[in-house]
Each structure stands twice: as structure tokens, then as C-alpha cells.
């Protein structure tokens, strides 16, 4: 018994060692970013690595004083939140219909929605540019909201739909005999039951939107519509050369909110991603 216990302790230690090592490996680039972002410019490009650099807030002051960082941040947040709201408003009823009603061509429509995600973005880049130009939406966050929403709509719909398929039909039958109409059922029974799925879909949509680069670059041409991801790319040019420490710090700042959101809803997220794969 004692021997067995000891073995268990050892294997537990081994488990922590492996997982801890893996976590360190994954976090290393992030820590390296932070380290570069918080050192003076003179210590960035050196022939030998400096493991214990001088602490400096040069880059921090630079990004807030020399660039409209607040504006970029605001653009990012507004475009992302707006796009997620658009996605949910459209995807929830669509998913409800695709999972709950029977009509001709239902599965084809579902597949069509998913197929919008299958083409390479570059194919539609030029048409989309002209579309937004004709609508007078170029260089606005409204255009960003719409384009992010369009990119994410298909999989947001599919994630929510797969959750709705798991809800027993009996629940709806019960609500019907209790006197509830379709909208009531959706609002009071279905949506609360699939809330983890909705949160999962929303977070994944957010992450995609934060990382979106191609269409943002196409649509945004001034700081009016620049987001963090595009602004970051602009740091590489100009008379100052490539400002590595500022880039690193901005990249770190862009990473933090996503990280915090994922940690906060981690439980839902892992459940959401495995749901449908394993029954039960």
C-alpha cells in the first residue's frame, strides 16, 4: 500500500514536471515579448542575448505619446464587440431554425452557410473593397464590424446549432404544453440552455476578430479605422526604423485581454469545444 502510494506521488510529480515544462515552453515567447518590450532600445539588437536587461519604460511612453494608441485600442474593441453582437443576433435564430424546424433544404442551407468559410479570403478581397467603397464605408469601424461579423457568422451559427441539437426535444414539448410560444421557448428555454455554447462561439469569434489582418488592412487607411493588428504592422516603417521594443509591447498588450477572457471562461470553452464529439 505504502509502495503504491509512493509510486503515485512520483507519477504525480512527473506529471507536474511535464505539464509545467510544456506551460513554460508555451509561455516563453510571451515572456520574451514582455522582456523586449520593457528594455531600452540599445539592449534590443545585440550579438549576444541579454537575459537580465535594464528595466525601461521607453517603449511604453513611446506607444502612448508618439502614436494614437488609445484610438487603435478603441477601434479594435468597438469593431470586435459590434461584430460579435451582429453575429449573435443573426446566428441564434438561424441556429434555432436549423436545429429545430423541419423544412425542405434545411441541411443544404446549413451547409451553404458553412461553405462561406471555405474560400480563401484573398479571393473576395477585391470585390469586398469595391462593395464597401460604393457604400461609402471605407476606413470606418462600421465596415470592420460588418466584415468581422461576416467572417465569423458561419461557424458561430454552427457552434450554437450543435449545442441546440443536444437539447432534448421533450423540453420544447413541455414548454409548448405549458403554453409558451416559439419566441418564448427560444428566449426562456433554449438560449439559457445553450449559454455555454453561445459564450464559446462569442469568444472564438472575438479571437478571430482580434487577429484579423487582411481585410482590416484593405478597409482601414487612416488611424480612424486602424486596429491593433494593423497598427502593429505600421511600426516597422518610418524614419525610426523597426522599433522592436514598441512592437513587442503592443503585441503583449493585445494578448492580455484575450488571455484574461479565455481564463475567465475556460470551463465553458473546453466543454464547448468537445461537445458533440462525445455524447453525454
Amino acid at each position: 500500500m505504502a509502495a503504491k502510494r509512493k509510486l503515485k506521488g512520483e507519477s504525480l510529480f512527473l506529471r507536474y514536471l511535464i505539464l509545467g515544462g510544456w506551460a513554460l515552453f508555451c509561455l516563453m515567447p510571451v515572456l520574451w515579448f514582455l522582456s523586449i518590450g520593457l528594455r531600452p532600445r540599445t539592449e534590443i539588437i545585440t550579438p549576444t542575448p541579454i537575459y537580465f536587461p535594464t528595466f525601461s519604460l521607453d517603449a511604453w511612453h513611446m506607444i502612448w505619446e508618439d502614436w494614437p494608441m488609445g484610438q487603435y485600442l478603441r477601434n479594435s474593441v468597438l469593431a470586435i464587440i459590434g461584430s460579435v453582437i451582429i453575429d449573435l443576433v443573426l446566428a441564434i435564430p438561424a441556429a434555432y431554425s436549423l436545429s429545430r424546424f423541419e423544412y425542405r433544404g434545411r441541411d443544404d442551407i446549413g451547409f451553404y452557410i458553412l461553405s462561406t468559410r471555405m474560400m480563401a479570403p484573398a479571393i473576395v478581397a477585391v470585390p469586398i473593397f469595391f462593395l464597401f467603397r460604393n457604400m461609402g464605408l471605407l476606413d470606418t469601424i462600421w465596415a470592420l464590424m460588418l466584415i468581422y461579423a461576416a467572417i465569423n457568422l458561419s461557424f458561430v451559427t454552427w457552434i450554437i446549432r450543435s449545442y441546440m441539437l443536444e437539447i432534448p426535444k421533450e423540453l420544447e414539448d413541455a414548454a409548448k404544453t405549458d403554453g409558451a410560444g416559439e419566441l418564448r421557448i427560444l428566449w426562456e428555454i433554449i438560449i439559457p440552455a445553450v449559454l455555454p455554447g453561445i459564450i464559446t462561439a462569442a469568444v472564438i469569434a472575438m479571437i478571430f476578430a482580434i487577429n484579423e489582418f487582411l481585410f482590416t488592412l484593405l478597409i482601414a487607411s487612416t488611424p480612424d479605422a486602424y486596429t491593433m493588428s494593423v497598427a502593429l504592422a505600421n511600426f516597422t516603417g518610418g524614419s525610426d526604423g523597426i522599433i522592436y521594443n514598441a512592437i513587442a509591447l503592443v503585441a503583449f498588450l493585445a494578448f492580455v485581454p484575450v488571455f484574461l477572457v479565455v481564463v475567465a471562461i475556460q470551463k465553458h470553452l473546453s466543454r464547448g469545444l468537445t461537445m458533440g464529439a462525445v455524447k453525454g
Binding site: L171, D173, A174, A175, K176, G179, A180, I189, L195
Partner: protein, 349 residues
């Protein structure tokens, strides 16, 4: 509070028949049980009464009003589901209150009504919990409370006890019957459990392959079965059905000879006799065969006889014991013998 008539109800999904030629008139305050094996159409029939399914043909009438075109939510019907179907995001209180909110019953009455329903099913201590925090029996009672809270015209119960263990099932059975008698609400109950049907029902409707086999009180169903299906489905152990020939009032099968039967039938016949209507007796015996098995259960002993290649179940005296393969004779109660047509299985009288 409501009389339900089903007139010539048919339900098809394309070429597949769900329910055919269902005709039944359920009286006000009556407790009717639909009984049959799975897939016999009993649940479909109930769902059509609820309005969750539309009949392909026929009329559903409640208190003289045709309900076919009326939505489930506008029929004053409450349903209890096999899987309970409690709303997982709401507390038990909210679950029970839900039908009151949906039917625009004044808010100030909700609290009293919910508490009264919860009291009736002895669930007042659990109103603040979510369904996930309750046991199976408690969930079932919560589902029951949700159905009775607004005192509907009709209760529909779809195998409500099938997910409970045997002991709990018996307790809930008594409770359901008590509540139904107290509230005097017309009830349709679906089950595949013959004990539930016998103990709960005013009348039993036996269904098979989408069609009604027999409608009658539990006594009628048990003592006067309409065909071999009903005879075999009701009773535990089931009725012995012995195939043989009838000639001049005498039924013969291997090891079996029964005289004094009606002379106006002849040919291939199935003779039915319940185990409890058989006695081990040498005198006036109808069956002679060998002992195949003896099963003492405490209050009774089941004897299985082998006659030819046929096994016949006999409910013997509680003290009866015998060695295997010895010869034994069994007498049938002549007043309890049923004759069925050998081909159609219909009862011959």
C-alpha cells in the same frame, strides 16, 4: 373536467403507419391507461391529444369542440414526460410557476398556487434548488407539480415512472392515483408496464402495431381478453397459450385433452389457461407431462410442466416441491378456459 373523443384517428409518416383506426371516448374525470409494447403507437396517440402531433385523419374532440386545428399551447392540457423535461436553468419554484406565467394568471396568485402544488407532491423543501440537485423521484414529483399547478382540463402522462427504481415507482403510483382522484382531472397515461396499467386505470386501452386491441376495465382485460395478444400481454407469468385441435367439443394437443368445450367450434384452436387456474391434481387431469422446473418464490411456487415440446406454467401450492423429469398431472379450471382462433388469434366464444 373534460371529455375526450378520438374519432377514426390515423397517423402516417409517408408509408409508415403510426396509428390506425383509433376510436375511443374518454369520460370526464376518467383515468385511462394506454398500454402496449414500445412502438405500438400509444405515445403518438397521446401526443396527438396534446397537440404536439397532428393526426393524418380523424377528429380529436374535447368537450364537444374539435381540437385538430388548435395549437398545443391553447389546449388546456398538461403533460408529464418520461425524461421529466424540467427546465434546467430554472429553480423548481420557477419550473412549477412557468405554466402560470405563460397563461397570464395574475402574478399575486403565483406564490400560493406553486406552494399548493408543491405541497401536494411533498416538495416544498426543494423549491429553491435547480433540477440537477434533485434525485430522480424528486424530479418526477416536480414535473408532476408543474402539470397540476394550473389545474388543466386534461393530464397526459408519458411513462412518467419508467426512470425510477421499483420501490419508488410503487410509491409514486399511489401518489399519482391519489392526486388524480383528488383533483378529478381526466387523465391519459401511457405505459408498457402492465402492473401500472392494472393498478391505475379505470379503463385500459391495449395497443399493438398502431391499432387498439381491446378497451376495458382492468377486470375485463384480465378476465375476458379479446385475443391472444391481450391474453399474453396481461398477467405475470402470462397466460399459457396451447396450440391444438378442437373436434366435437374435445381439445387435443400432445399430452393434453380437454373435454366439455363448446361444440360449435372446430379446427385449429389455441387454448388459453392462466397459471393460477391450473392445479396439480391426478383426478380429472387435463394435462399429463413431466416436471421441467420448480421455482419457489416464498408465497407461491411456480411449476413448469413439459407436455410434448410445449412448456406450461402452473401456479402450484406454496409447499409444492418435485424432482425434475418425474411424471405429473395437472387439472385446468374448466370455467377459466379461453379459446382463440388458431390463425387470427381472435377470441372464440
Amino acid at each position: 373536467m373534460a371529455r375526450i373523443e378520438l374519432n377514426d384517428i390515423q397517423k402516417r409518416w409517408g408509408p409508415v403507419w403510426g396509428v390506425r383506426d383509433v376510436n375511443i371516448d374518454i369520460a370526464d374525470e376518467e383515468f385511462v391507461v394506454f398500454l402496449g409494447p414500445s412502438g405500438c403507437g400509444k405515445t403518438t396517440t397521446m401526443r396527438m391529444i396534446a397537440g404536439l402531433e397532428d393526426p393524418s385523419e380523424g377528429e380529436i374532440i374535447m368537450d364537444g369542440e374539435v381540437m385538430n386545428e388548435i395549437d398545443a399551447r391553447d389546449r388546456d392540457v398538461a403533460m408529464v414526460f418520461q425524461g421529466y423535461a424540467l427546465y434546467p436553468n430554472m429553480t423548481i419554484f420557477e419550473n412549477i410557476r412557468f405554466p402560470l406565467r405563460m397563461r397570464n394568471i395574475p402574478k399575486q396568485e403565483h406564490d400560493a398556487l406553486v406552494r399548493r402544488a408543491a405541497e401536494l407532491v411533498e416538495l416544498t423543501d426543494y423549491l429553491d434548488r435547480k433540477p440537477a440537485a434533485l434525485s430522480g423521484g424528486q424530479r418526477q414529483r416536480a414535473a408532476l407539480a408543474r402539470a397540476i399547478v394550473r389545474e388543466p382540463q386534461v393530464f397526459l402522462m408519458d411513462e412518467p415512472l419508467s426512470n425510477l427504481d421499483a420501490k419508488l415507482r410503487q410509491a409514486m403510483r399511489v401518489q399519482i392515483k391519489h392526486i388524480q382522484r383528488e383533483l378529478k382531472i381526466t387523465t391519459v397515461y401511457v405505459t408498457h408496464d402492465q402492473i401500472e396499467a392494472m393498478t391505475l386505470a379505470d379503463r385500459i386501452v391495449i395497443m399493438q402495431s398502431g391499432a387498439i386491441q381491446q378497451i376495458g376495465t382492468p377486470d375485463e382485460i384480465y378476465n375476458d381478453p379479446a385475443n391472444t395478444f391481450v391474453a399474453n400481454f396481461i398477467g405475470s407469468p402470462p397466460m399459457n397459450l396451447i396450440e391444438g385441435t378442437l373436434e366435437g367439443g374435445i381439445f387435443r394437443a400432445e399430452g393434453i385433452e380437454v373435454g366439455g368445450l363448446p361444440g360449435h367450434h372446430s379446427g385449429t384452436i389455441t387454448l388459453g389457461i392462466r397459471p393460477e387456474d391450473c392445479t396439480v391434481a391426478a383426478e380429472g387431469a387435463h394435462l399429463s407431462g413431466t416436471v421441467f422446473g420448480v421455482e419457489p418464490t416464498g408465497d407461491t411456487t411456480y411449476l413448469t410442466m413439459k407436455a410434448g415440446n410445449k412448456l406450461i406454467e402452473v401456479k402450484a401450492d406454496r409447499d409444492y416441491r418435485a424432482d425434475l423429469n418425474i411424471d405429473e398431472k395437472v387439472r385446468f379450471d374448466p370455467t377459466r378456459i379461453y379459446l382463440f382462433d388458431g390463425e387470427s388469434g381472435e377470441r372464440l366464444r
